[in-house]
């Protein structure tokens, strides 16, 4: 595990990872209580990816993510209140409660979802980047997707088009080794995902997605590449999901040993150790951090509980701008 540059930076990364973890642990409890319904895909285990990468983008840059996007939105800066309210389906949520867990949106932060069709965000990201290029804006579009997406036609079409037109998009594959229950090797003839990107003449590399420092370093370096007008770049984050695909599954597709092995590489505990060993983290730092986050989570729950439901009269609002 690489050591962060400053104490401040290290503590911030740790704090953000713990925020995501505690937010989601609470969400899982609320799910058991029936407060949150539908699909709830937890990011637990993968926090280093969002935390290391998202802050490397400027406020002008765009983010396109998947249904497993709680962490991305939190780190991007959408308030935990608005996100928890969205999980509840309340009108005070970040999409007025209409999307729930899979569909976080935040126009002010150029957060374009929360898109739940596997690989469906790639073409949209390509288009956002095209608009920037055509309007001469020096912005980058970040496009997150899972390893499952590489099997879809849109993955291949989008990489090709972005490379062909030299568009400022950063393709960010969160490879957690499984698409639901299907391991990469069981659905891909070529399991080296970067090789696929290279086939479309994209520069591509893989990075340890359990190491927040490595994620941050690789992401900001590749953002610089894209921002300098050299075209798209492809990053694969090697990571692992600790929980079920959605709230429940029997996890027949992997062994307990495998999960336990990966948990030894938990991005939060390992980073905590690294910080301690480097003398950058004291017990009191952690206690303070945890108690502030606990308060933030409870406030978010209270906010969500207190929020109103969107009135049924507004059901058809915003199907069209001018109905």
């Amino acid at each position: 595990m690489t050591v962060p540059v400053t104490r401040e930076q290290g503590l911030e990364w740790l704090r953000q990872m713990i925020r995501i973890r505690r937010f989601e642990e609470r969400a899982a409890e609320l799910y058991q209580l029936g407060k949150i319904r539908g699909f709830l895909h937890l990011y637990i285990g993968e926090e280093a990816v969002a935390v290391g990468s998202i802050p490397s983008f400027t406020h002008e840059d765009a983010i396109v993510a998947t249904y497993r996007e709680h962490g991305h939105a939190l780190v991007r800066g959408t308030s935990m209140d608005a996100l928890m309210a969205e999980l509840y389906g309340k009108a005070t949520g970040c999409a007025r409660g209409r999307g729930g867990s899979m569909h976080f949106f935040d126009a002010a932060r150029r957060f374009y979802g929360g898109l739940a069709i596997v690989a469906g965000g790639l073409p949209v990201a390509v288009g956002l980047a095209l608009a920037d290029k055509m309007q001469g804006r020096n912005r980058v579009t970040a496009c997150y997707f899972g390893d499952g997406a590489v099997a879809e036609g849109e993955f291949h079409e989008s990489l090709n088009l972005a490379a062909l037109w030299k568009l400022p998009v950063l393709f960010l594959c969160e490879n957690n080794l499984y698409a639901m229950g299907t391991a990469l090797a069981r659905h891909q003839s070529q399991t080296d995902i970067t090789a696929k990107a290279q086939a479309y003449a994209l520069p591509a590399e893989a990075v340890d997605g359990m190491d927040v420092v490595a994620v941050a370093a690789a992401t900001s370096r590749t953002i610089d590449f894209v921002r300098s007008g050299k075209g798209p770049y492809f990053l694969e984050y090697r990571t692992y999901r600790f929980r079920a695909h959605s709230m429940y599954d029997a996890e027949l597709y992997r062994t307990k040993d495998e999960v336990a092995e990966w948990k030894r590489r938990d991005p939060i505990t390992t980073f905590e150790q690294t910080l301690r060993q480097a003398g950058l983290l004291a017990d009191t730092d952690l206690e303070q951090m945890e108690s502030r986050i606990a308060a933030e989570v409870e406030e978010a729950v209270a906010f969500a509980e207190a929020g109103p439901w969107e009135p049924i009269e507004d059901l058809k609002k915003d199907v069209y701008t001018h109905p």
């Binding site: 007025r96 409660g97 374009y112 469906g120 949209v124 956002l128 915003d318």
Partner: protein, 325 residues
């Protein structure tokens, strides 16, 4: 009044759109060097350059999706999907992204995208190139579906569509590109919310859209020779549907035939028929009739293709049946 072809009308609309607004660009398969599959963008690559006239790879899903992204990013893309037959590869982007984003984001994002495509049968291009699926698209809330049948609409609907903040899909019947028509006077941009009466009559309402308009008008002409005055209603816009104009006409004529080139089962004609029943059931003197395509993949030989599609004589016959003749 100037006579021009439908193809020239589409081209004039596109050209004007590109001249008016620097955010507008055209993207699709063979829109540039080739000049457009139906020659609607001939010469544009030279006139507007490769930044604004973009030849794409054969990647329907991705270039439609990129149109959505570019629209979100402040551009006004016109995406040409070569024909409706290939648009199925882009259905995911259309249904799950273009149509949902505004509502699902709680009104935060809208998608000012225009997608054009050729549709329809009648050119002996067989089963995989003869689909009429605009009725499928009209099923989807969140998008607008236009079916210009006249040269005035072919030019003008595009211009109005580009003013819309939401996705608009324009279906140009491939059979019409070579048809000549008179360009009506008036501002080029036309209304895209109302149906139009193309011929007035009192005995029966013939309700149709797109390529079938001309067959329906031909049927009305021959009915007139027998003394039957048919009113011909061109829906123009399938979603949001101007059902009130249809109901007004049926209230007057008490009889309706819906003509639709799609297969009968689950067709847009079925929707019109249902809405007439819901709206003016007690004004009807007979059940609503439909003239649609036969339920077969459209065959290649001319005699079989003709037999599969709505034709003026079939429309005339349907009217005769309604009137008990």
């Amino acid at each position: 009044m100037a006579k021009i072809t439908y193809r020239e009308a589409v081209r004039a609309g596109l050209r004007e759109a590109l001249q008016r607004d620097s955010r507008v660009f055209l993207m699709g398969e063979d829109v540039g060097k080739y000049g457009g599959t139906y020659a609607c963008s001939k010469g544009f690559l030279d006139e507007f350059g490769p930044e604004r006239i973009r030849d794409t790879p054969l990647s329907e899903s991705t270039f439609v999706g990129a149109g959505i992204g570019a629209a979100l990013g402040g551009m006004r893309p016109i995406v040409e999907v070569m024909t409706v037959n290939f648009s199925l590869l882009a259905l995911d982007q259309i249904l799950n992204n273009a149509a949902t984003l505004r509502h699902m984001s709680g009104g935060q994002f809208s998608v000012p995208l225009v997608v054009r495509m050729a549709t329809g049968a009648g050119r002996q291009v067989a089963a995989q190139h003869s689909h009429s699926l605009e009725g499928w698209y009209a099923h989807i809330p969140g998008i607008r579906v236009l079916t210009p049948a006249t040269v005035t609409d072919a030019r003008g609907m595009l211009l109005t569509a580009l003013q819309e903040p939401d996705p608009v899909f324009i279906f140009e019947h491939a059979y019409l590109y070579s048809m000549e028509g008179e360009l009506e006077e008036g501002p080029p941009a036309v209304d895209i919310s109302r149906a139009a009466v193309r011929r007035t009559g009192k005995d029966v309402s013939l309700i149709t859209f797109g390529g079938s308009l001309w067959k329906t008008l031909a049927a009305a002409t021959s009915l007139a020779q027998e003394g039957i005055e048919a009113e011909v209603m061109d829906l123009r816009v399938l979603r949001p549907l101007d059902i009130n104009s249809v109901l007004t006409s049926v209230r007057k004529t008490h009889r309706a035939v819906v003509i639709d080139e799609a297969w009968r089962t689950g067709s847009f004609a079925a929707e019109i028929s249902a809405q007439i029943m819901e709206g003016v059931f007690y004004d009807l003197d007979s059940p609503v009739a439909r003239v649609c395509s036969e339920e077969v993949p459209i065959p290649y030989p001319k005699h079989l293709e003709d037999a599969a599609l709505p034709q003026p004589d079939k429309i005339v016959q349907a009217v005769h049946t309604l009137l008990g003749r």
